[in-house]
């Protein structure tokens, strides 16, 4: 069964190719696109089953497909590597993508770019599967760039509006800034360790580099550069909120299954490197903590339903980074999984709401939708509770509590990080229930014009189910993943236990819900008053503009570069050659003017020349 592994990325690739090349009727397009991902999911489940029932030696299976090229010292293979980490990623990515594809068949049904949409979507999934299954960093980089490309194509999918194009280019370019760091990291690793095979690299790194060596630090930081770009962490998070320009299923795919979790995966995949570079690992934790707080504040002030969710993703990925940074490796991957379920569901629910209200995005113009869209309401509520962490029931609570506990009790955990994570819980429940109350409760502001069909509702129900039961998989999950990605515990005594940490988090969650209820449902005037005070206005504009970082980057990088390009447009170097040409022409003109045909000028010229010559002879 394991030998079928290559089909998992190959099927979406193949269907993407077919959809790009052949013009087919809509039904066929939907069928090919969805069934290829379905087949990919089934095969990945079969592979997973076989992996679990008869584990291969050392819990890892490598499938070499072909030798990519052999350029002497560098000879990477196109090979897939399956271990518990990549297996979990593969199954979740394939399965969630399948549900999103199913949903899209209805969501996009009125669009004239149906063919193109699914060709891109399949390529997206294929790239992500290649990324997680890659056995060497070069192949991973191929998937990595493919994911970036598809995000660009899909964010700018509705290309007639140039703003969408701008958002797409922003996503591609900002993530490519990180990719450049990643690429240089690859050069460094190859230069020092002589291979790009991930397992071999990790082995050689731990053999050759002592803990705290500068090479390990540089490599880990460069890879981190790539990871923060893709995962939209500080300071490269600015592309993600704008990425909402794409169709809603695309957002679901980017946030839940493909793309943004790639950075988390990369760091988990190369965790040996981070263990060798404690400063880099600490940087991961700090970036995660800072991002989860900043994005949480930003989410509180957004008006666009999808932008709230975008900041929420940035914040949740921040949690994963925090977990990676403190050494709570399995918690990060567990949160990736639960997050994939509930975030996909939130976006799919948001898609239903937006489509039913005739493309209305502003949450202040929604309201009271729980009676009109009951399935959407209940599933959205479940996902929201999971996101905010309703204790004991929802999957999100289990994974978040685990991270919270890790922030305190894992190897690099500290009180400061724990408090940051706890503040994040408050912010999360506050913005989540602000969104839920404004959209589904209160007065109705817009008319419902569309009712979702089964293709859109079934994925929501499945994901709602998983958003709850996913949490109960924690124990088997931990033991399974532990074979490739162990939890790093803290040395010494820990004053508070995991249960106590979870209890405090639960209390904070309810506090957040209550505050949201008061601020946005009971007494919205109070909120308005706070927000319109002087300090409130400053904070509001700061938060809603993502801490003014877009503004800053625009002034610092974009405008100078564009100015430079436009001012040098006519190629200054050519000025030199034009100068030479001009000089020649001028000299020619001067010389040709002497040939006037007037005898007296010639005579005068000869006389003057003779005088000069005689003078030269006499005086020099």
């Amino acid at each position: 069964m394991l030998r079928l592994l290559w089909l998992v990325p190959a099927l979406p690739f193949a269907s993407s190719l077919v959809l790009a090349l052949v013009r087919l009727p809509r039904r066929a397009v939907a069928w090919i696109a969805t069934s290829s991902i379905a087949a990919s999911t089934i095969i990945s489940l079969l592979v997973a089953g076989s992996f679990l029932s008869t584990p291969p030696a050392a819990f890892a299976y490598t499938e070499a497909l072909w030798r990519w090229f052999d350029a002497g010292s560098l000879h990477p293979e196109i090979a897939l590597y399956l271990d518990p980490l990549s297996l979990i990623m593969m199954v979740v990515v394939a399965f969630v993508s399948f549900l999103i594809h199913l949903y899209s068949t209805e969501f996009m049904s009125g669009d004239d770019g149906y063919n193109r949409f699914f060709a891109y979507m399949n390529l997206f999934v294929a790239s992500m599967l290649t990324l997680v299954l890659a056995d060497n960093l070069l192949l991973l980089y191929l998937g990595w760039e493919g994911v970036g490309l598809c995000s660009y194509l899909l964010i700018g999918f509705w290309y007639r509006d140039s703003d969408n194009g701008r958002a797409g280019r922003k996503a591609f370019i900002v993530t490519r800034v990180g990719d450049t760091a990643l690429m240089i990291g690859l050069f460094l690793l190859f230069h020092r360790l002589g291979t790009l095979n991930i397992q071999e690299l990790m082995r050689r790194a731990s053999e050759q580099w002592p803990i705290g060596s500068s090479a390990a630090l540089a490599a880990a930081l460069l890879l981190l550069g790539g990871a923060i770009g893709k995962s939209a962490q500080l300071p490269l998070q600015t592309w993600l909120p704008d990425a909402m320009a794409g169709p809603t299923p695309v957002s679901a795919l980017i946030h839940a299954a493909t793309m943004v979790t790639a950075g988390v995966y990369l760091i988990a995949r190369t965790h040996v490197l981070y263990a060798l570079a404690p400063q880099a690992q600490f940087a991961v934790a700090v970036i995660g903590a800072a991002t989860l707080l900043m994005a949480g504040f930003s989410a509180l002030t957004q008006h666009d339903l999808k932008r709230v969710l975008a900041y929420s993703t940035i914040s949740q990925i921040g949690y994963m980074f925090l977990a990676l940074g403190v050494g709570a490796w399995p918690a990060a991957i567990f949160h990736f999984m639960t997050h994939a379920f509930f975030k996909a569901l939130l976006f799919l629910g948001a898609g239903i709401v937006i489509k039913s209200l005739n493309d209305e995005h502003d949450i202040f113009r929604m309201g009271g939708l729980r009676k009109h869209l009951p399935v959407a309401f209940w599933t959205f509520l479940i996902a929201g509770c999971s996101l905010a962490g309703l204790p004991l029931i929802t999957a999100g609570a289990f994974s978040k509590d685990w991270i919270l506990w890790g922030a305190y009790g894992a190897a690099n955990g500290s009180t400061g990080l724990w408090v940051a994570a706890l503040t994040g819980v408050l912010l999360t429940s506050l913005y989540t229930f602000r969104m839920i109350f404004l959209v589904f409760f209160g007065e109705q502001h817009s008319q419902v014009t569309y009712r979702p069909g089964n293709a859109m509702l079934i994925p929501c129900l499945v994901l709602a189910f998983l958003s709850i039961v996913g949490g109960y998989m924690k124990a088997p999950f931990a033991s399974f993943l532990g074979t490739s990605l162990p939890w790093n515990s803290k040395v010494g005594a820990i004053p508070i236990g995991e249960t106590a940490s979870g209890g405090i988090a639960a209390a904070v969650f309810f506090l957040g819900v209550y505050l949201a209820y008061v601020l946005f449902l009971r007494k919205p005037n109070l909120t308005m008053a706070v927000a319109s005070s002087r300090a409130g206005r400053v904070l509001h504009s700061l938060w809603s503009s993502d801490w003014a970082m877009d503004w800053l980057y625009d002034r610092l990088f974009v405008r100078p570069l564009v100015w430079l390009a436009n001012s040098g447009k006519s190629d200054l170097i050519d000025g030199f050659y034009s100068g030479v040409a001009w000089l020649n022409k001028t000299a020619w003109r001067g010389a040709s003017r002497t040939q006037s045909g007037r005898l007296r000028w010639y005579a005068a010229g000869i006389a003057a020349g003779s005088i000069v010559l005689i003078a030269v002879v006499l005086f020099l």
Partner: protein, 491 residues
């Protein structure tokens, strides 16, 4: 003998094509196409014969012809082919076919003379790639020049006279420097050994003082650097590309650049190893500056052909970096980039030509939103823009990655800065896609989509690029057959 036939078929094809155009234009085109195709098949047979075998030890060249030409001066008609030249001959002939086919509808005046010139240029390029005698090499080098001047000045756009003279001055002046360098090498070798010869293999061991070697190397380098073109001698290329016809641009940017890169690898590196080691760092710095400079300039261009020309200069900066960084991975990357760049930039010129054929303009400002009306052409344009920005899975990526990873081993700052060039390529490539294909169709274009002929050519180029990106092993294997001649490949 195959090598001589390659040249004879091209030249005879050119003459016949020129003659028959008097009676029938279609026939003239078919003759040219047949000549290039015949050559390609011949070369493919040659390539298949020795593919994968270890390099023959006794006979160092896969195929060789050595006739005495002017014995008094030690001039031979000496041709030879190995893995390196084989790859580039294949590229030349493939793109030669493309050039003939895209001229089918674009060139309607003086068809016979056009094909005669085109065939002569291709023969000149093959001569450069095959010559093992420096006199013959110079002869072929100049053979490319004059017909190219005519292609630009007769079938160009509005400012074609300016462009043609600019091209001629740049290449002729630098070619003269090379002639002086060749003669200097010839006489220096005679002074040391008492033998007058232009033979490549005998000159390889020429004893030169470091000072003389540096000056002679610079003479050669001038010609190659201008033709590549390298920053800061690049300014003729955008000006010419803005005016010349599509096929001319293809030959200029894809093939002439390939000959320059080839000449650097074949002649410069083995003839003057010490001088290269001294001058290498300076050249790599210029290469990196060129990569970034051209990317930024490409970003602001409004003329489509000019934009592609700057993109081409950027990629050739990578080639230069690969050749001069002194690392075998990087050098191999340079060869792959020459091939991939030839195809991807050539295809972009084709796309631009297809757009010009429909909209009658090369200005980006007059386009926009074309996806609405020509979705297939737009998709193809997107594909090649992605190849140009170095997307993994396509040939350009393999080449540039190898160049960078090889350069890193020698000097990591150079590699890191050059890696930003890959990022900078994103800017212009996405801008190209945005302002040509995306956005709203505000000019209300209603155009025919890809014709079968265009689709076939561009499709073949797409397949080749993907093949180079996903399984470039045959290229590396063929290149391995150049082992004995280019020792620096294996340093």
């Amino acid at each position: 003998m195959t090598l001589v036939w390659l040249l004879i078929v091209l030249i005879a094809g050119g003459i016949l094509s020129g003659l028959f155009a008097r009676w029938h234009l279609g026939l003239s085109r078919w003759i040219a196409l047949a000549a290039v195709t015949f050559d390609l098949i011949l070369t493919l047979i040659l390539a298949a014969r020795d593919f994968g075998t270890a390099h023959p030890v006794g006979n160092q060249w896969l195929e060789e012809v050595n006739w005495s030409w002017i014995p008094q001066s030690g001039i031979h008609f000496h041709l030879g082919i190995d893995g390196l030249s084989l790859l580039l001959v294949l590229l030349t002939l493939f793109l030669g076919i493309v050039a003939v086919v895209i001229s089918w509808t674009e060139i309607t005046t003086a068809v016979g003379i056009y094909h005669f010139n085109l065939m002569l240029i291709l023969a000149g390029i093959l001569g450069v790639l095959l010559a093992l005698d420096l006199f013959l090499f110079y002869f072929s080098w100049e053979l490319m020049l004059v017909p190219m001047y005519f292609l630009i000045s007769i079938w160009g756009r509005e400012r074609r006279a300016y462009a043609a003279i600019k091209f001629f001055l740049f290449t002729q002046l630098s070619g003269l420097l090379m002639l002086i360098a060749i003669l200097a090498l010839y006489f220096a070798h005679h002074r040391a050994t008492g033998v007058y010869t232009f033979e490549y293999q005998e000159l390889l061991g020429a004893q030169l003082s470091p000072h003389a070697a540096m000056w002679i190397m610079l003479g050669f380098f001038a010609a190659f650097a201008v033709k590549l073109p390298m920053f800061p001698f690049h300014t003729w290329l955008p000006d010419v590309c803005a005016e010349a016809s599509t096929a001319t641009n293809l030959v200029l940017a894809s093939l002439m650049a390939a000959t320059a890169a080839y000449a650097m690898i074949r002649f410069l590196l083995p003839l003057f190893p010490d001088a290269i080691r001294t001058a290498g760092p300076a050249v790599t710095v210029l290469a990196v500056i060129g990569i970034l400079y051209s990317a930024i300039l490409a970003f602001s261009q409004t003329n489509l052909m000019r934009l592609i020309a700057y993109a081409s200069i950027g990629h050739l900066g990578f080639v230069l970096l690969g050749i001069f960084s002194g690392n075998s991975l990087a050098l191999r990357g340079a060869v792959v980039t020459v091939i991939a760049h030839g195809i991807s930039i050539g295809a972009l010129f084709l796309v631009a030509g297809a757009l010009e054929g429909r909209t009658h303009t090369r200005e980006i400002g007059a386009m926009g939103g074309l996806w609405d009306t020509v979705p297939r052409l737009s998709g193809v344009g997107l594909f090649f823009a992605l190849a140009a920005l170095g997307l993994p899975g396509m040939g350009d990526f393999i080449g540039e990655f190898l160049i960078l990873i090889g350069t890193y081993q020698v000097h990591f700052v150079t590699a890191a800065v050059a890696a930003c060039g890959v990022l900078a390529a994103t800017f212009y490539a996405l801008r190209f896609v945005q302002y040509v294909f995306q956005g709203s169709n505000s000019h209300l274009w209603h155009l025919p989509d890809l014709s079968p002929r265009e689709g076939l050519l561009l499709g073949a180029m797409m397949v080749l690029l993907l093949w180079l990106g996903l399984y470039p092993q045959p290229v590396f294997q063929t290149l391995a057959q150049a082992a004995n001649h280019v020792p620096t490949l294996w340093r």
